[in-house]
Amino acid sequence: MSKYVDVIINGFKEKVPEKASISFLITHFKEGDTDLIVEHNGQFVYPQKYAGAAVSEGDRIEFINPNFGG
C-alpha cells in the first residue's frame, strides 16, 4: 500500500501519495490551465520538469493561474 504525506497546496494541508509528481498533482487537483505557474517550496518549476519533480512531507506547492488579460 502506498504511503501518504502531508503537503501544503495553495495554503491548504492535503494528503497526497509519497513522491507524487507535480504532473500528478496538477491532474489530481484539476488545475486545468496549460500555462500554470507552479512554485515548489518557493522555487519556480519549469513545465518541462513537472513529471520529474516529486513532493515530500511538509512541502509547499503553489498553483498560480497566469494573467493574460490586458
Binding site: 500555462d35 497566469p66 494573467n67 493574460f68 488579460g69 490586458g70
Partner: protein
C-alpha cells in the same frame, strides 16, 4: 544631445528635480523609443504615462475599436470614442496630453508577418496585449532585437509584471512554453489594470534612465483581493526553445 528648452524645464520639473532623472535623464527620456503593444486597459495607462513623462518616440498598435464595455478600465477612451479605432482615440488623447511626443499609431493586428516592423527601432516593448499568443510574438521580437520586454497581465483582481531582458533573464516562453487556451472577456476591475500598467511604466522609465532595481527574474504577483504583492523567483529555462541559443540553432 540638445539642451532642454525652458518649456521642457517647466513641464518636466517635478521629475528633473529627482536625482535619478536630472537633466541628463530627461534628455534620455526625450530620445527614448518605446513600442506599446495594445491600447486597452494596460496600454491606456502606460501610453499615458510614457507621453506624460516626455518619451520622445512612442509607437502604439492595436486592432480593435472602442467598445462601451471597454470604458470601465480603458481610461484613454471616452464615451464619444465608442466605435472609433482605438489607436485613433489614443493618438488624439496622447497629443492633447503632450504635443511634443512623436507618436506612431498603427491600427493593425500584431502578427508574425508584421511584428518586427511594428516594433521597428524601439528600445523596449511595453506589453499591453490581451492574449498569450501576441505575447509570444512580442517575446520573439524582444529576443531577436535584443531589447527588453516588460510583461504585464491582468485577470479579475490579480495582476502580474516582470521585465524580460534577453541574454540576462528568463524570457516569456521560459515560463509559458505551452500554447495557452484563450479566454475571452476576462473579468477585471479598472484599478487592477491601472496598478499593473503603472508598475510596467515604472520599469520602462527605469530602463530608459539606466537605473537598477528592475523586476529581473522576479515575477511580481499582485492580488488585490487582500492587497498582497509577492514575488515569484524565476530563472532562464535551459529547455527554452526561444531564448536558449543552442536549442534555437536546432529548431
Amino acid at each position: 544631445m540638445t539642451n532642454l528648452s525652458s518649456e521642457e524645464y517647466v513641464r518636466y520639473n517635478r521629475q528633473i528635480i529627482l536625482p535619478e532623472v536630472g537633466e541628463e535623464g530627461q534628455k534620455k527620456i526625450r530620445n527614448a523609443r518605446v513600442f506599446i503593444a495594445g491600447v486597452g486597459g494596460l496600454g491606456s495607462v502606460s501610453a499615458y504615462y510614457m507621453a506624460a513623462a516626455g518619451v520622445g518616440y512612442i509607437s502604439i498598435a492595436d486592432r480593435d475599436r472602442v467598445n462601451a464595455d471597454n470604458l470601465n478600465r480603458q481610461i484613454l477612451h471616452h464615451s464619444q470614442d465608442i466605435g472609433k479605432p482605438k489607436t485613433a482615440s489614443a493618438l488624439e488623447k496622447l497629443r492633447q496630453l503632450n504635443p511634443h511626443c512623436h507618436i506612431r499609431a498603427v491600427q493593425e493586428d500584431m502578427r508574425e508577418e508584421n511584428i518586427m516592423e511594428l516594433v521597428g527601432d524601439s528600445q523596449l516593448i511595453l506589453d499591453a496585449t490581451d492574449n498569450a499568443e501576441t505575447r509570444r510574438l512580442l517575446n520573439r521580437a524582444s529576443v531577436s532585437k535584443h531589447i527588453p520586454f516588460v510583461y504585464g497581465g491582468i485577470n479579475g483582481l490579480n495582476g502580474m509584471v516582470t521585465t524580460f531582458i534577453p541574454g540576462e533573464t528568463a524570457c516569456f516562453e521560459c515560463l509559458f512554453p505551452h500554447k495557452a487556451v484563450e479566454k475571452t472577456s476576462v473579468a477585471v476591475l479598472g484599478p487592477v489594470a491601472g496598478l499593473t500598467a503603472s508598475v510596467q511604466s515604472m520599469e520602462a522609465l527605469k530602463l530608459i534612465l539606466g537605473m537598477g532595481g528592475l523586476l529581473k527574474n522576479r515575477l511580481l504577483y499582485i492580488q488585490c483581493s487582500d492587497m498582497t504583492f509577492r514575488e515569484i523567483n524565476i530563472r532562464k529555462n535551459p529547455d527554452c526553445n526561444v531564448c536558449n541559443t543552442e536549442r534555437r540553432g536546432m529548431i
